[in-house]
């Protein structure tokens, strides 16, 4: 029903566009000069069609359910029901009206269900009538107002401005919303687990906090020594460090090769090929790390008399580094290519060789962009989940030995949230606390990145 109405409104919009333009043409044919191109008159009318429809639709969506509920529950007033029971009654009658109710059907509920259905259909048909009449009235009003000197360009431009603003607002609001949803759960978590234990505790063992029977009272002492985040923060930075040790040198060197040494033809083929690496799903990297690299390292280590775990930080970090190479190489290639040719010429003309020119002139000039690409790589490394889950194990060991297994923040969030989970349980809330910390870490990293880039930019431009 809504879909039909919506289609109809869209059709109305097109029709009003057509009529608006047609009227403009008619005015034009009387040799009067219009203040805008005829299309603008069309858009103007279409906007007059869209705005009332949008307003009424949103008002309806906000108020209809509340009003229907009030009307139904008014039957039960003065009968001494509690709020919770009333809500339950309402939900039951709603379910019955949809034919999804399986419990015992009382006459009361049946009556309510029927009332619900009839209210809904009244609401629906009155919506259709109101929307359509509002549209027709507003379009007719606007149509009458169109004359040779009516201003249509400004309102159309303003409308576009508003639409674009709403789009960017949506992105910002989503971020704010996510942060808020994290904040409240995080606060709840820290009500049970002291912040100090979380930040400085060295034991992370969430399996100890089995999903609690919700009838039991919450006993904070049973969580002591369970949620100490030091090992997983250490693991996160350690694996990211290993990854960057692989990605920065290889990525930078291949970026420099592509930008300065490769012939146009080589570059044309090599660049897309390297970028394919970025298109491989991380889960594929994950089993590459777990099934190929991990066992290979173990064998290699054993043959050298080292003790290597099959799931090691080295395997996960190394493969993660390979995953990040294309980000760094491709971005630094772009940055280096955009260094002006005049600087290269200046350096060559002084008798500098290619490598001297790169080291002394091009690299410093491209540094802000290169730092940016590296920090982008670091945030990828910190946020990467799948490879760690698959290749580095899930036990949060506090270790700096790359041959042992260790775990990261993201991997632990996965561990916590797969399987059974209960809301309001510290174990579940721990995931939110971790998510929040991860968010803060990446935020700080981004701020530092911006600062660094800005500092060098001031120095070099």
């Amino acid at each position: 029903m809504n879909l039909i109405l919506f289609t109809f409104i869209v059709l109305l919009g097109f029709t009003s566009y057509y009529f608006g333009r047609k009227k403009a043409y008619t005015i034009q044919s009387t040799k009067k000069r219009l203040t805008a191109l005829p299309q603008f008159y069309g858009y103007y009318l279409a906007i007059w069609c869209a705005i009332p429809a949008f307003i009424i639709f949103s008002l309806w969506a906000i108020f209809e359910p509340t009003i229907v509920k009030l009307l139904i529950l008014s039957d039960y007033s003065n009968q001494g029901y509690l709020d919770d029971e009333l809500n339950l009654l309402y939900e039951k009658s709603k379910a019955l009206s949809r034919g999804q109710f399986t419990g015992e059907i009382t006459p009361f509920i049946e009556a309510s269900a029927e009332k619900y259905l009839s209210l809904r259909s009244i609401a629906q048909s009155s919506k259709v009538v109101i929307v359509l009449s509002a549209i027709i009235a507003s379009v007719a009003y606007a149509y009458k107002r169109i004359s040779s000197n009516s201003r249509t360009r400004e309102p159309v431009e303003k409308f576009l401005n508003a639409v674009l603003f709403t789009a960017s607002l949506a992105a910002i609001l989503t971020t704010v919303g996510i942060v808020f949803s994290l904040i409240f759960q995080t606060i709840d978590f820290f009500k049970v687990i002291p912040l100090f234990d979380f930040v400085f505790g060295t034991h992370w063992y969430p399996a100890k906090a089995f999903v609690r029977d919700s009838s039991e009272a919450l006993d904070p002492t049973m969580y002591s020594d369970t949620f100490g985040a030091v090992p997983i923060f250490a693991g996160t930075f350690f694996i990211a460090f290993i990854a960057m040790c692989v990605a920065i040198p290889i990525g930078l060197m291949s970026g420099i090769y592509l930008a300065e040494y490769a012939s146009t033809k080589v570059r044309q083929y090599a660049k897309p090929l390297i970028e394919i690496l970025a298109g491989i799903p991380t889960v594929v990297y994950g089993f590459f790390a777990a099934l190929t690299v991990g066992p290979f390292l173990k064998e290699l280590g054993t043959s050298m008399g080292l003790e290597v775990s099959a799931e090691s930080a080295l395997a996960a970090g190394g493969v993660m580094g390979i995953m990040i190479i294309p980000f760094i190489s491709s971005l630094s290639d772009d940055v280096i290519t955009s260094v002006p040719q005049s600087l290269r010429d200046g350096s060559y003309a002084m008798g500098a060789t290619k490598s001297e020119t790169i080291k002394r002139v091009i690299f410093p000039a491209a540094l802000p962009g290169i730092v940016g690409s590296i920090l982008l790589g670091v945030s990828r490394a910190i946020g990467e989940t799948m490879i760690v889950v698959m290749a580095s194990g899930l036990a949060a060991n506090l270790t700096l030995n790359p041959l042992e297994s260790t775990s990261t923040i993201t991997a632990q969030i996965v561990v916590i949230l797969i399987g059974d989970q209960a809301f309001g349980d510290p174990k579940t809330q721990a995931a939110f606390a971790l998510g929040m910390s991860l968010f803060l870490v990446t935020l700080c990293l981004n701020i530092v990145a911006l600062r660094v880039v800005k500092k060098y930019r001031e120095k070099y431009e």
């Binding site: 003309a349 002084m350 008798g351």
Partner: protein, 251 residues
Amino acid sequence: MIKIKAKDVDVFYGKKQALFNITLDIEENQVTALIGPSGCGKSTFLRCLNRMNDVIDICSVKGEILINDFNINDKSCDVVRLREKIGMVFQKPNPFPKTLYENVSYGPTIHGMAQSKQEMDEIVETSLKKAALWEEVKDRLHEPGTGLSGGQQQRLCIARAISVRPEVILMDEPCSALDPIATAQIEELIDELKKEHTIIIVTHSMAQAARVSQNTGFFHLGQLIEHGSTDKIFKNPDNKKTQDYITGRFG
């Protein structure tokens, strides 16, 4: 005395020939101006003299260019040494994104000319003095070179070029991005520099060529139409095309 002898130089960009049979002698310690309409090949010829055309993949140079009687197009020529001897100043000032000091010390560092910090300081100071920039910048040697005005940047580039004491300085329209006052300063500087260096300058401004040069070569469509003393070229050219160009009838 002849410093540079170009013999039958042809230049190709891919299949397109840009220069045809250029034969030209350049006098030592004089200023030689290369003039001609846009796209006539004068900059291309200039870039042949320090093998800067090597940087362009599709460019190939044929013929002999003798500097101090040594053919620089020969395989045995060391481009690094060649460019040490032949400095270049470009159309648009292109200081490196480094400090003033690092800009001037760039060449001496690459060629290992200074044994100590003191020696390097001296080189930087003399180069900046010769480029008539020292008084303006001596208090901010460690600020970025890109912070200077256009004219100062160009003089910085000249200081950078002369820091390695080249025998020849090539200038590719060095004043085209500058205002009249900065242009006058650079022209004065060129007059000063010719005592120690041989200078070849490409310019669009005939007035500039007349003011600064002793010899002039006129290029047209990739050919050297006429060359000789600036006085003769401007007052009494042999070729009709030269006359037309000088008097502003085309170009």
